[in-house]
């Protein structure tokens, strides 16, 4: 079992099934799912945070979704949707739907919690300065919500990266291929090598979110952002 040999073999670094190609597929699926999840989660989160309605429903759904096993959900949706879609998309469409489904709750709860926890003094000051509701939302509440929103997007991303790996079982391209194909051929070096690449990819994404937070969050908010984000609010099974 030569893991280093597998990781450094030039054959594994070229071609349509090589490591770079599979990283590309993996990132493509992840970004696609994340983009859709953001398009759904952020506006809905703003609406809930702003109106205060639907909070309990969303929290309940997020908890229920955590109890549902990801792999079971993935296989079930695949069996339901795959007869409907044809051709190459048969693997991609059901997987993307599951990825989006898992990614929306953390983004949603991060957004509405962020807006609700925006410093009331800052909101009051904005209103006192004559900001309209729209201006208050865009210039005060949303920037204040950023730390929690980023932490939600981060959990979503890690969930997506992890689940996209598992989806290789259904036939999806991406880094999970090395694990599933390696298992099928009892090629442990390939399984371990692929796992190491996935783990590194996840760690790089995690660290870039930390850096992103430092760049786009207002300096005035940074002191509080560390303590205020509850590890439980957005934690999920990966």
């Amino acid at each position: 079992m030569n893991i280093f040999g597998w990781l450094t073999d030039p054959i594994n670094w070229s071609g349509s099934g090589g490591i770079p190609a599979q990283i590309g597929y993996h990132l493509l699926y992840c970004f696609l799912a994340l983009a859709i999840a953001l398009a759904i989660g952020v506006p809905l989160g703003i609406l809930i945070g702003y109106t205060g309605k639907g909070e309990t429903v969303v929290a309940g759904m997020a908890n229920a979704l955590r109890a549902l096993p990801t792999l079971g959900l993935l296989v079930m949706l695949f069996l339901i949707i795959s007869p409907v879609v044809a051709g190459k998309l048969v693997y991609v469409v059901p997987t993307i739907i599951v990825l989006v489904l898992l990614a929306v709750p953390p983004i949603l709860s991060g957004t509405y919690a962020g807006i609700q926890n925006a410093d009331p003094d800052a909101v009051g000051a904005a209103q006192g300065m004559g900001f309209t509701k729209r201006q208050t939302l865009l210039r005060v509440q949303l920037p204040c919500a950023l730390p929690l929103m980023i932490s939600g997007v981060r959990s979503s991303t890690l969930q997506i990266v992890s689940t996209a790996t598992v989806a290789a079982y259904l036939g999806l391209q991406g880094l999970g291929r090395f694990i599933i194909d390696g298992r099928a051929q009892a090629n442990f070096a390939e399984m371990i090598g692929g796992s190491i690449v996935v783990a590194i990819l996840a760690l790089i994404l995690e660290l870039s979110f930390g850096a992103l937070g430092r760049i786009i969050v207002s300096p005035g908010l940074r002191r509080v952002s560390g303590k205020s984000s509850s590890p439980l609010a957005t934690a999920g099974a990966t």
Binding site: I3, A59, N63, R66, A67, L68, P69, T70, L71, G72, L73, V75, M76, F78, L79, L158, V161, S162, T165, V166, Y169, L170, G176, I179, I180, R183, F188, M191, I192, G194, S195, I196, V198, A199, A202, L203, L205, E206, P231, L232, A235, G236, A237, T238
Partner: protein, 214 residues
């Protein structure tokens, strides 16, 4: 439904194995998180280091961790021990911060009162601080156990038998019955373990008249 009755023995065995693979790491993770969380609570530098390391560990996808661990542990790649170690690490990563935050949430007056009553450090920790922190720790434990029920199913992709094996079987045979059976049993397990922790929490904190459970 015929499928269920003719496979009942296997379903029971898979459920038993699932319960073991979920509960063993949850309990182990909690037992490790208590001293580590206490240490993180006591030393500021320890808190930053432990919370940082725990966060990074939590980012590693479970399927990848199941496969990388045997390289570090020297176990066989398809050994169920890897699943238990991996989930223990996830539970520990989640709970160590919860325990530290829980201990920090104990009101200063309570600690001062215990000190004034002549409690030694370890007595104060075991008899006062830890019991007062129980609700916070229980909330973290609920998240951990429910997540673990779900993560265990991933081990089916490596061929380690538990309820996730019903998912792979459902996929291979294109059959809904094993699949739905597996999903329902997983959700039932999650709900039962969750309820168990809520009950234990109430039992351990009789002084709290009305326990906020969610």
């Amino acid at each position: 439904m015929n499928w269920i009755s003719s496979n009942i023995d296997r379903i029971v065995a898979l459920t038993a194995s699932h319960i073991w693979l979920t509960l063993a790491p949850t309990v182990l993770g909690l037992l490790l998180a208590l001293p580590l969380g206490w240490w993180a609570h006591r030393s500021g530098r320890g808190y930053a280091a432990i919370v940082g390391a725990a966060g990074l560990l939590y980012t590693i996808p479970s399927l990848a961790l199941f496969i990388i661990l045997p390289v570090i542990l020297g176990t066989k790649i398809l050994d169920p021990v890897n699943i238990i170690v991996a989930l223990t690490l996830y539970t520990l990563a989640l709970l160590v911060r919860v325990v530290a935050d829980g201990l920090s949430s104990v009101p200063h007056d309570t600690v001062a009162a215990a000190e004034a009553m002549g409690y030694r450090n370890w007595q104060r920790l075991l008899l006062v601080e830890l019991p007062v922190a129980v609700p916070v720790i229980a909330a973290g434990l609920r998240v951990a156990v429910v997540s673990n029920v779900s993560i265990v199913t991933m081990a089916a992709l490596l061929g380690i038998p538990q309820l996730g094996s019903l998912f792979t079987q459902g996929f291979q045979l294109r059959l809904y019955v094993p699949l739905v059976t597996g999903v329902v049993l997983c959700v039932v397990l999650a709900v039962v373990f969750d309820g168990l922790i809520i009950w234990l929490n109430k039992l351990l904190t009789p002084w709290r008249q009305r326990t906020v459970t969610s």
